[in-house]
Amino acid sequence: MARIQLENVRKAFGKVQALDGISIDVKDKEFFVLFGPAGAGKTTILNCIAGIAMPEEGLIKFDGEIKNLIDPAHRNVAMVFENYALYPQMTVYDNMASALRSKLYKTPEDEIRERIMWAAKTMKMENLLERLPSQLSNGQKQRVAMGRALVRTPNVFLMDEPLAHLDAKLRNSMRTELKEMQANLGSTCIYVTHDFMEAMALGDRIAIINEGKIVQIGTGDEIYYMPCNEFTAQLMGDPQINIFDARIGEVAGGFTATFPVNGEEITVSLPEDGRVYSTIKEKGLEHVDIGIRPQNVKYSFEAKEGYFKATVYSYESIGNKSVIVAECGDYQLRMIAPNGLSVAIDSDVYIRFELDRSIFFDSVTKEYIVRYDEQTFIDLAKSEEEK
């Protein structure tokens, strides 16, 4: 296992700058997630580490050793792809043995058997070894593809959306299993995904990638609670965080936020918080984008003190809970509600924000400014990292 470093890696495909100065430092035994939308450059980063793609600039180091000019076979990395890439004519056992039997490794058969048995046990697939890939379900195929990577002792596991092909249920159970396996393995792993739950659940640290650049690197908690900009905030969380523009006003002993809802101006007072208040004062903030997650938006179907009125746009179940979407004019607000309510579309809904859970962004640059209880979340992120 090894520490993997990329230093200012750049790679272009024709006119498209796929990687625009990527620097990451993945610690030995770390599970590192590359997370971002399609086309962000995540897979290209993996390919550069594997040696399948050649960067035009920048260094790729394994344990401090520069690997740019080493060919893929001699980098000793194990890759797992979205589309399994199994040999269809070989049994599961032979698929797993194929790399070890190659000229490069020439492993004795006894040792191969021993390692396959161990990997099969780890992946809970001992009963599949004699089958052909065509006799496997998609979940089983992915297990075999991972098992095949496990039998080697590579410098790093590179996994490219290994669960993306599976249906939602299987994906969730495989994710849990992968998490359990990772704890037993103690190996460096770089994992590409566009699914935020996978990123949060699996990553010791996450790098948010967009348009060939790194947007933010941090633990899941750090990125979830202190996203560096609105883009990151919107990636983390389903349903998406609500973000709306508000005007800051000053009243005796405090501040207020004013925003339009269906043509009407709503003013709410901003709860007191040392850091939020001092930031407003120091920066002389007049406008902010307020970000508030759907679970921190409260609703009522009757008029209530401290609630403002909006219109129900939709109400739908997302499994264990439901989402009410409210129409507010230029924007919509999402909020979490239980399943099974009888909510009529276009009826009135009354809304209140738990502003003491909100995040402030710059309304022009969309960058993070401050959040409520900031110190608590800095401490939380720190304790995560120490683990």
């Binding site: 849990t176 949060m200 739908e316 264990n320 399943n339």
Partner: protein, 374 residues
């Protein structure tokens, strides 16, 4: 009034090529379903369960082996698809590429020989409803997936069908677009109030869209009910595990009696859960069955909790919520919590299960075992 009635519907694909006749080879078996006028019904099941076959029989694209189909009060078994007065929106958009959106939407009416002004009036009426008014001049290749799907539905409903049939219309779209389109479809159907049958394999889609869900497995209807009914009161183990994400925890259990109290016990586990009183009439000491409980009905007890101490096997922080897995025998029992505490593997928590939320299933058949009603 019923919008659609399926009466003892059967479908068997012709196996005459095979030497041996397979005994139980019905693609659809004794399906009975009544959709009320204006109701949105989802046919839900894993691939190959017969849901699309059912839809195709309703549309008239597939012969019926046995049974009756009524649209409104009309028996349509013998009618040609074009005479059934249905609108179809399928997974692949199948638009006419040389025609622009207007032409595609108007096509069916033109084919029927409807008056030109009349067609124009209808297209202009439906376009804002489907939010395609600014797309009318565009060619199909220029449209995004979501736009194509809206055009597709506009084309299906412009004929004012008695029944709208949709087969996985969202499966081509990616996550975010899919979610947005789901909301749009729901609002639309709500506006036009057309009886709709919607085929999907995605339980979330069915739960969020439908007034009622028909869950089908191996050609047999498992349960027909509102989303709340199938979620809270599943008819059998299949429905219980198919609806909901993460799925219901289902564990084999032996019920034991200690003094006057019954407990669920599990092989190779210390976990004991009190059996709710309402089941006392159906269980006895040593009774074997399966116990099902949803991950949100498994709780972490506080310091004074009487719950069984258990070791955490997996901990997943998903931002909005956290999921914890605990080994009960060789099953990983999942629980969901919004608790802010960060646990780690190996931590001990006290496990509490909301007994009143447990379901019992027959170990062989998977059928619900219900308490006896007085």
């Amino acid at each position: 009034m019923a919008g659609l009635t399926l009466n003892h519907l059967y479908k068997r694909y012709d196996n005459s090529g095979k030497k041996k006749k397979i005994k139980n080879d019905f693609a659809v078996q004794d399906l009975n379903l009544v959709c009320e006028q204006g109701e949105f019904v989802a046919l839900l099941g894993p691939s190959g369960c017969g849901k699309t076959t059912t839809l195709r029989m309703i549309a008239g694209l597939e012969d019926i082996t046995d049974g009756e189909i009524y649209i409104g009060e009309r028996l349509v078994n013998k009618l040609q698809p074009k005479d059934r007065n249905i609108g179809l929106a399928f997974e692949d958009y199948a638009m006419y590429p040389p025609l622009n959106v207007y032409g595609n939407v108007a096509f069916n009416l033109r084919a029927k020989g409807v008056d030109k002004d009349e067609i124009d009036k209808k297209v202009r009426e439906i376009a804002p409803l489907m939010q395609i008014d600014d797309l009318l001049e565009k060619m199909p290749v220029k449209l995004s997936g979501g736009q194509k799907q809206r055009v597709n539905i506009a084309r299906a409903i412009i004929r004012e069908p008695e029944l709208l049939l949709m087969d996985e219309p969202l499966s081509h779209l990616d996550g975010k677009a899919r979610q947005a389109m789901r909301t749009e479809i729901k609002r639309l159907i709500n506006k036009i109030k057309c009886t709709t049958v919607y085929v999907t394999h995605d339980q979330l889609e069915a739960m969020s869209l439908a007034d009622k869900i028909a869950i089908i497995n191996f050609g047999v209807l498992q349960q027909f009910g509102t989303p709340t009914e199938v979620y809270d009161d599943p008819a059998n183990e299949f429905v219980a595990s198919f609806i909901g994400e993460p799925p219901m925890n289902i564990l084999e259990t032996t019920i034991i009696k200690k003094e006057d109290t019954f407990f669920f016990t599990f092989d190779n586990s210390n976990l004991q859960i009190a059996v709710p009183k309402r089941y006392y009439s159906v269980v006895k000491d040593g009774f074997r069955c399966k116990m099902g409980v949803r991950p949100m009905d498994v709780l972490i007890g506080g310091p004074d909790s009487q719950g069984t101490p258990e070791e955490i096997a997996t901990f997943e922080n998903l931002g909005d919520e956290r999921r914890i897995g605990i080994h009960v025998g060789d099953v990983l029992m999942m629980l969901i919590t919004e608790d802010e505490k960060r646990y780690k593997r190996g931590d001990i928590i006290k496990l509490e299960v909301r007994g009143e939320k447990t379901h019992l299933f027959d170990i062989e058949t998977g059928d619900r075992i219900r308490e006896k009603k007085e």
